[in-house]
Subunit: 196 residues, 2 copies
């Protein structure tokens, strides 16, 4: 399998972490999205959305969307709860990540890290929505070790990706002790060095 | 099962359509989100995000996020491809719906229908992003009857919800003949009268 990704992108790292955790062999193909690497005619044949990550299976078939890719790669593993209701709770977090977390937490970081904006130049509305997402995580994690009860799952992989580097985009984590505890726990499960 | 929803919300209708299609019994509990019905202390015990739709199973457990709910309710049915790769393609469309379609196509409609804005008052950037999403659907549907090959799936349910009423938000469909053909086909599968 080939993974086309940008090693600075949380969405791409989700795929790397799941492969590493499950010992799935892969070749990482680094794509420089800022130089249009995901929009070349050749790349668009792999992913019509022109996005990374893109997984290319050994038979040549490709898959898009980080959360869909990890859900496929982790099927049958302990990263997806075997009980249908628990799996649905995992899915709910992963859809929430795409509609209410990543568009703010990742975009603030993108503007700071990729576009070189100072925090004071980031749209205050984006920062506010980012804090709303982090506050929701804080509230939930006060009552649970991981996002779906006590078992680490793809929900944690998905939300970890941009939460652990939220401060890159001006979203300070100092007022979210439960989130910081969860980040450390999740990084430990994945064998990652602390992001901060 | 109870479904807490707003009958004018595409996200809520996804759940209704799947229940109707699969003949799953449910009681619909109408929630007026514009009057704060999803943010009462009682409602927040069912869904910490304060959102509709929310499904309350017969044992009292609840589920959030429209796409996670329909993925749970339709498990084992022909609305989810049995082949893992095809199911992953379905998931990719559903995650894309939440990150790149609903935030524009649904939000334009929300501003027009719920907030009473004229199309000229809607943020041109939202309209542009909505057209980018619609153009992608058009491109894909030129080569496929439904979103995942020739078989109707939850990907079609998910994308149909706001695409069929995109014109409510000023996103004219006249230049998207493949999208209009697909809307008619999907409405026919679900037994819905034409939205327009």
């Amino acid at each position: 399998m080939k993974i086309y990704g940008d090693a600075n992108s949380g969405n791409c790292l989700k795929v790397k972490w799941v492969c590493d955790r499950l010992a799935l062999p892969y070749t990482w193909v680094e794509i420089d999205t800022m130089k249009g690497g995901s929009r070349t005619p050749e790349f668009l044949t792999r992913n019509g959305w022109g996005q990374v990550p893109t997984a290319e299976l050994d038979d040549g078939r490709t898959l898009a969307q980080s959360n869909a890719i990890i859900r496929y790669l982790a099927r049958g593993s302990d990263l997806i709860p075997s009980e249908a209701y628990r799996a649905a709770q995992m899915d709910a977090w992963m859809f929430w990540e795409q509609n209410s977390h990543e568009p703010y937490v990742a975009v603030c970081r993108f503007q700071a890290v990729y576009l070189g904006k100072a925090v004071s130049e980031i749209d205050p509305n984006l920062l506010q929505r980012g804090h709303i997402a982090l506050a929701h995580l804080e509230w939930h994690l006060a009552g649970a070790r991981f996002l779906v009860g006590d078992a680490f799952s793809l929900a944690d992989v998905s939300l970890l990706a941009y939460t652990r580097v939220a401060e890159d985009g001006g979203l300070e984590l100092k007022n979210y002790p439960m989130v910081r505890r969860w980040i450390a726990d999740a990084e430990q499960v994945l064998g990652l060095p602390p992001a901060r």
